[in-house]
């Protein structure tokens, strides 16, 4: 398998040179291969989410490099990061982060608005993804009317609509009961089988101990303390 992401000596310091300076990540180096499922674990405040947001091109590191394929994304201006997020990543957030007043269909269409596709094509793509998750019957429903499990599936559908190469999931099971968590694992397994690279931040053992996760980085105080591979 080829290397997809190479992280070298990554530091992230918030509010640098200010009284409330806070070091979130220190000297992180890791590699993620294409098609791999990687988990980031650790107690809250250990830097999982920060690392995840850096990997997902949501923010820029204070120093160090992140090599995504051929380009060093650590130095790119913000607007290019947005393009990369749009084209390479699919995000599943802890709080789902759906727009509650929008319908299921509209939520899933959102990532494609800035693309070159026409509105009709976007609608078609969104409907197709929703169909896979058996949500085709509730396209017009507002998100706030859905159950937790349904919202989770809409969130995953949204992450997949642009057919991303890498899926980033932040505590995806935090608000799910164990049955729904198992469903989620199955979905992730299917996606992985289809060739998607998956990076999950979690402290849920049922996730990181599952057979799906091939490697795990354990973080404490912004450093990787342990790397487990299967």
């Amino acid at each position: 398998m080829s290397q997809l992401i190479i992280v070298e000596r990554l530091h992230k310091i918030y509010h640098r040179h200010q009284p409330d300076e806070m070091t979130a990540l220190q000297d992180i180096s890791l590699q993620i291969l294409a098609g791999e499922v990687v988990a980031l674990t650790g107690p809250s405040g250990s830097g999982k989410t920060t690392l995840l947001s850096l990997l997902g091109c949501m923010s820029r590191p204070t120093s160090g490099s992140i090599q995504l394929r051929d380009s060093n994304v650590a130095k790119l201006p913000e607007r290019f990061l947005a393009k990369i997020r749009r084209e390479t990543f699919g995000f599943v957030f802890q709080q789902y982060n759906l727009v509650r007043d929008l319908s299921v269909l509209e939520n899933v269409m959102l990532p494609l608005y800035p693309s070159d596709q026409s509105l009709r094509e976007i609608k078609k793509a969104a409907t197709a993804v929703l169909d896979q998750f058996e949500l085709a019957g509730m396209l017009k429903k507002k998100v706030k009317q859905l159950s937790g499990g349904e919202q989770q599936r809409v969130a995953i559908a949204r992450a997949l609509v642009a057919d991303p190469e890498i899926i980033i999931a932040d505590e995806p099971t935090a608000h799910l009961d164990s049955e729904l968590a198992q469903d989620l694992l199955q979905i992730l397994a299917v996606l992985n089988a289809a060739g998607k690279t998956i990076v999950i931040a979690t402290h849920d053992p049922s996730i990181y101990q599952s057979s799906l996760v091939q490697r795990r980085f354990d973080l404490r105080h912004g450093r990787i303390v342990e790397e487990h591979s299967r």
């Binding site: 640098r16 204070t62 290019f80």
Partner: protein, 335 residues
């Protein structure tokens, strides 16, 4: 005189543009002083975000400026009744010395702001933003022009004396006077047409060559031809295009055609001319910028589009200005 509604609107609009530009230059100076592309500090990130604010401010300022030019001419048209002897906008502009100066400054501003917006858009598409310094320097230079625009408008409108007897387009643009304008109006039609059509012809030829060939010298040539074409066309409008539009041999006013009586035909005419000039100048203007690898890619990908837009603008201008010449019953020759 200040309390005319149109004048009030113009001054308000200009004041707002000045404020917008002052804010933009203040941010521009910060960016100029502290910009460091290689840094990933939070300060640099904040500056990067501020560039968005500056470009938004400039886009708005350009938009305001476009409407402001239209409103200015409209207002000059509306207040002509206040001046004895004035029969259209020309008369109002003649009412004191500053009138034409305001129009000139507005014209320069329009071009300057449009260039800035286009270059900014190019620059923002690159990863390394090579134009940051020249861009914000230019911004700091445009701002005094905007202030000057406000000041001149104030001077013009507050200096208007309704009792003053002014000359109107009839006397300014009549063949008998001794001003540049009347020289233009008095120019023999045949020579004027010859000059106009030869420069338009060369513009079209150079433009087509630019579309086909990639030579840099052609772009420079197109730049020069565009500038010449702009001034010659303005001259041509005064000299013979307007008489054709008005169907009156001695009516040379370049503003009347913006009125409802002539079904606002002047707007597409001037917009076409402006677009043809602006986009004709762009490729030449961008030649020196090709030394930046990142910009070269962007310029190459946009240039074709600019050239075609220039072509479209020229065709609109040409169609409207020559329609009456070709198909109208009015004949200027013989007068």
């Amino acid at each position: 005189m200040i309390l005319h509604p149109g004048i009030l609107a113009l001054l308000c609009g200009s004041l707002i543009t000045v404020l917008v530009m002052l804010l933009a230059s203040w941010l521009g100076v910060q960016i100029l002083l502290r910009w460091d592309m290689s840094s990933s500090s939070e300060e640099q990130l904040l500056l990067e975000r501020k560039t968005w604010l500056v470009s938004t401010l400039l886009n708005y300022a350009l938009g305001f400026q476009i409407f402001s030019v239209v409103l200015f001419i409209f207002t000059a048209e509306d207040i002509h009744r206040l001046f004895v002897g004035a029969m259209c906008a020309t008369g109002s502009l003649n009412a004191n010395l500053v009138g034409w100066l305001v129009l000139l400054v507005k014209g320069i501003l329009l071009f300057a702001a449009a260039f800035w917006v286009v270059l900014n858009r190019l620059d923002q598409r690159t990863e390394d933003c090579p134009l940051v310094r020249p861009k914000y320097l230019a911004l700091v230079l445009i701002t005094p022009l905007v202030v000057l625009d406000l000041y001149l408008q104030w001077r013009y409108f507050s200096g208007l004396q309704p009792e003053v007897i002014t000359s109107c387009c009839g006397s300014l643009f009549s063949a008998g006077g001794d001003s540049v304008a009347s020289d233009l109006a008095g120019m023999p039609v045949r020579q004027a047409m010859l000059l106009f059509f030869s420069i338009i012809g060369s513009y079209l030829v150079v433009l087509s060559f630019c579309i086909v060939f990639k030579a840099s010298v052609l772009r420079h040539l197109l730049f020069i031809v565009s500038v010449l074409m702009f001034f010659v066309s303005i001259g041509a409008v005064i000299s013979f295009i307007s008489p054709y539009i008005y169907q009156m041999p001695s009516h040379h006013c370049p503003f009347d055609m913006l009125q409802a009586n002539y079904s606002y035909i002047g707007y597409p005419l001037y917009v076409g001319l402006f677009v043809a000039t602006l986009y004709g100048m762009l490729p030449g203007l961008c030649q020196p910028l090709r030394k930046y690898a990142s910009l070269r890619r962007e310029i190459d990908s946009f240039e074709k589009r600019w050239l075609w837009v220039a072509m479209a603008g020229m065709l609109v201008f040409l169609t409207i200005s020559c329609w009456q010449m070709l198909f109208g019953s009015f004949k200027l020759f013989g007068y």
